[in-house]
């Protein structure tokens, strides 16, 4: 398979958020700013990449019947690594992402890629796939977070773009997440059709 195609499919064509509609909880939960989206996206990308690599390496050792629990243990181990590293080096980001870091374990994207892709492909292909899907997820989160931050607090990556007097606070609150994502998916559907 063409590795570039394999890598780039995660951005639009098979974007986990906009097209496959997976991993909705962190997508909606942490995207009140672009920075949070970026942090969450990169944390998930790391877990996705590592779990894809390990699953693809030991796929022949895992008995078929217990493969899902084994995948979950592998994923949970890497999530714990991310949790401990973030707690130590970026405690503020860790705090603002809160509950959603341990919840990467139950993010359907990660388990989905392990089951549907990494357990059937070789190391390089699986790693490229993990990286591509992970960065596609990050792209979606940063886009959503950026739009919400811009409309809701007049900033982008914490840089003030326009005065706070004109912001629509609703967009950084819970309803804004649903509404912005709804319109984004509609736009992506439109782009995909052309």
């Amino acid at each position: 398979m063409n590795q570039w195609k394999n890598f780039s499919k995660g951005f639009i064509k098979e974007n986990p958020v906009f097209v496959l509609l997976l991993g909705m909880c962190p997508t909606l939960g942490v995207t009140s700013s672009a920075i949070n989206g970026l942090g969450m996206g990169l944390a998930t990308t790391f877990v996705l990449l590592m779990s894809n690599i390990v699953v693809s390496l030991i796929k022949s050792q895992i008995p078929d019947k217990v493969r899902i629990p084994s995948f979950i243990v592998i994923i949970a181990a890497f999530v714990t690594v991310v949790q401990l590293v973030m707690q130590a080096y970026v405690p503020e980001l860790y705090k603002s992402l809160g509950l959603f870091i341990p919840l990467i374990v139950v993010n359907c994207i990660v388990l989905g890629r392990a089951e549907a892709f990494a357990s059937k492909n070789n190391l390089v292909t699986a790693a490229v796939d993990g990286l591509g899907i992970g960065l596609g997820f990050t792209f979606a989160l940063v886009l959503l977070g950026g739009i919400r931050e811009l409309l809701g607090s007049g900033k982008l990556f914490d840089i003030i773009i326009y005065s706070e007097n004109y912001v629509t606070l609703l967009f950084v609150l819970a309803p804004g997440a649903f509404i912005v994502l709804g319109y984004l998916i509609a736009i992506i559907n439109r782009i995909k059709k052309d």
Partner: protein, 190 residues
Amino acid sequence: MNYLVIVIGAILVNNIVLMQFLGICPFLGVSKRLSTAVGMAGAVAFVMVLATIVTYLIQVFILDAFGLAFLQTIAFILVIASLVQLVEIILKKVSPALYQALGIFLPLITTNCAILGVAILTIQKEFNLVEGVIFAVSNAIGFGLALLLFAGIREHLDLQSVPKGLKGTPIALITAGILAMAFMGFSGLV
């Protein structure tokens, strides 16, 4: 009084789906018909309460007792996954009728972040066992409430003429946004 604050807080003010964004996948996935939504809400309530009790006991008697708190994520997800399997097997034997109603939803629940989320929140908020159970029950009711409201709206939505680009998921998400806006009216209640 303290218990009442937990109940109202979990059901209305910090609704688990609409305010905390946990369990969005089943919220969007099984809300197309009211009858399946009822089944899912029942299955989630059942597992959520059970999982919160079991994970609480594990946290106190195993993880905290032996200084293994960093294994929380791995331990909890394994417990929940095996618990779901166990519930499935027991239900099949003991109550085939209930199994018929909840059966197909049970495997989906392992990867429902609401279950793991409530289990971790119970520990983070430093509740005792009674408070934890009340917290889990209230969150289950909150999940059911949001899911049933949303399913009812979506059944009506099918009959409306929606702009072509917004058909399907986009209009569902925007509807959920408006529903969340309504729930924001409860903020400040507790």
